[in-house]
């Protein structure tokens, strides 16, 4: 039981690569913190520094209030689950789970009791005498978890533990990992590149990019109020529609390509900072679910898109459309192949199932203005007045 805190922690590798820059992080006792970001953003390095597998170049790492910068993994009392599980192939499941206890010279009957209990929690009882090679992917994953929880560590670290599982099992294990974490109730740091995992599992989520922290908050806040263009583009699937736009007079309209979308005055009242952008370029962000197919009698602000593709998910339609405004792609938020596939001015809307729409149509979307996001084109930061807004 302990908290984890990082204060201005840096990691510079011998070859000069600055992997983690001025990282600040506070993980409360029992909290499930997720580190998410594209590959190479420094999230795994951060985790490994907490584990003691990577030296800290500068800054302070505290576990349970104690500075542990130079402590060995053993002294930090952490448990870690690796991406490839790293089970000892020559040991049985029971020996794998009990290895750490054996190293602490616990009496044999005590080890057996703890292993049995962990196996019960993880539904592994009948596999205790098997070797890892005889287990399925999901079972191996659970053994790796068992090895970590049996020690009752003060901090629980997980490095993309679900990425080797197939999609269906992953959804199932997501819930299981959460259930186990709630049960053992220790500070947990979970690394993933999958924003859906981050959103569904974390009490709070840290979004990282190029070694720097972008935003740390609850999943819902990250989704509703991203601090910058990167977070806006990274969190959410399908991604937020981000376009270059020009803010009209009195902040009462916004120009997206050749179209003008009227804004109610509440927009500027809620975001006084917008006033200084009047007549200037901004980046506008709209979540796909905030673009609905406008009913014929709709009088509110609309955006007309040329429908390119309609995907039916049963419960709703995902409509890919284009407008003549410039689509903004946050560098690194989507991978290069994906970015290359995005057409000029392409956007995505989620509309009701059975909406009569087909490729080639010109579909007017009702724009949900109150959830529209505005970003500065230079700094990429959200345009707001105060952070809690």
């Amino acid at each position: 039981m302990a908290t984890v805190s990082m204060d201005k922690v840096n990691k510079v590798y011998e070859n000069g690569f600055h992997a983690v820059k001025d990282m600040d992080m506070e993980v409360a006792d029992g909290e499930f913190m997720v580190l998410v970001g594209p590959s190479g953003c420094g999230k795994t390095t951060t985790l490994r520094m907490v584990a003691g597998l990577e030296d800290i170049t500068s800054g302070t790492l505290r576990i349970g209030g104690k500075v542990v910068n130079d402590g060995t993994p053993r002294e930090r009392d952490i448990a870690m689950v690796f991406q490839n599980y790293a089970l000892y192939p020559h040991m049985t499941v029971a020996e794998n789970i009990g290895f750490a206890l054996k190293l602490r010279h616990l009496p044999k009957d005590q080890i057996r009791a703890k292993v049995t209990e962990a196996a019960k929690i993880l539904d592994l009882t009948e596999w205790l005498d098997r070797k890892p090679g005889q287990l399925s992917g999901g079972q191996r994953q659970r053994v790796a978890m068992g090895r970590a929880i049996v020690r009752e560590p003060s901090v629980f670290l997980m490095d993309e533990p679900l990425s080797n599982l197939d999609a269906k099992l992953r959804v199932q294990m997501r819930a299981e990992v959460q259930r186990i974490q709630r049960r053992i109730n220790v500070a947990t740091i979970y690394v993933t590149h999958d924003q859906i995992e981050a959103m569904t599992m974390g009490d709070r989520v840290i979004v990282m990019r190029d070694g720097t922290l972008q935003q740390v908050d609850t999943p819902q806040t990250l989704y509703d109020r991203p601090d910058n263009i990167f977070v806006a583009a990274f969190i959410g699937s399908p991604a937020m529609n981000l376009y270059d736009a020009v803010l009209g007079e009195d902040a009462r309209s916004i120009k997206l390509g050749s179209q003008q979308v009227d804004l109610p005055d509440t927009v500027a009242i809620k975001r006084p900072a917008l006033r200084s952008y009047i007549g200037q370029d901004v980046v506008v962000g709209m979540r796909p679910e905030h673009l609905r197919a406008a009913p014929p009698d709709y009088t509110g602000p609309t955006l007309v898109g040329n429908v390119e593709l309609v995907e039916s998910l049963g419960s709703e339609l995902v409509v890919h459309f284009t407008i003549d405004a410039n689509r903004v792609l946050a560098e690194g938020a989507v991978d290069k192949d994906e970015a290359a596939a995005v057409k000029d001015g392409e956007g995505v809307a989620r509309v009701e199932a059975r909406t009569p729409v087909k490729p080639g149509d010109k579909l007017p979307f009702a724009v949900d203005i109150k959830d529209m996001q505005f970003f500065d084109t230079q700094t990429d930061l959200a345009i707001r007045t105060c952070p809690e807004e």
Partner: protein
Amino acid sequence: MGARARRGWRKVINGVNFSAFIVVLFVGLPLYWLIISSFKTPSALGDSPPQYWPNPWSGANYSQAFNQYDFGSYFINSVIVTLCATALVLIFGTMAGYALGRLPMRGKFTLMVALLIISLFPEIAVIAPLYTLLKDLGWLNSYQGLIIPYTAFNLPFAIWILRNYMLGIPQEMEETARVDGAGPLRTVWSIIIPMALPGLFTAGIFCFTACWTEFLMALTFNINLKTIPVGVATFGTALEVPYGTIFAASVVAVVPIGVLVFIFRKNIISGLTSGAVKG
């Protein structure tokens, strides 16, 4: 796949089987001849046409090898020298293989190439200087006089095998052990060595066989403390070569290697192919 294609494949497989049969015959026939001849009476050895099956079976050659000649002590000498050299090779080979395979170190590549070159040295090139060295040390006709050169000659190959094996063990295995609270020695002993066991078997069998059958150094350094190859070669006199006895001694000499290979055959194969298919 159509029936015709399947038949085609069967032909290929049968072809492979047939060539394997020829190879086994080629290797097996001399061995068969060795074994049955060791059980023939001395007079039956020269029969024409030859006996393909001993008639009568006779143990005379075996009793002669052990009684008239001192084959028992040659055997013990061989066992001592071979086991000690193999043990030393495995101990040092594991340490060096671990260092070269898993630890950050400068000049690894140069070292590995140097080892390779050393392992290709012809034995005969170094035997004269080694002889004077051992003579000065007073180690001629001693166990260590063979154990140490054998260890030195077999180490490079063992290091190569073990290093490749250790390279294939994922880094996370060691990291997990560290997180579990194991120190470096404990990690090597409890995690790395068990995972490298097939490599150890392979290196061990190769080293055992090389030491067991080595002739040149054993003859040069230890003429009064004979190992099996030297002992068998010096059976008989200028007037008589006791073929039956030599055959019997050779059969006894082959048995340990055959038993070892049979017991560890799976490990040896997995040791030789590791790295080829393991990710």
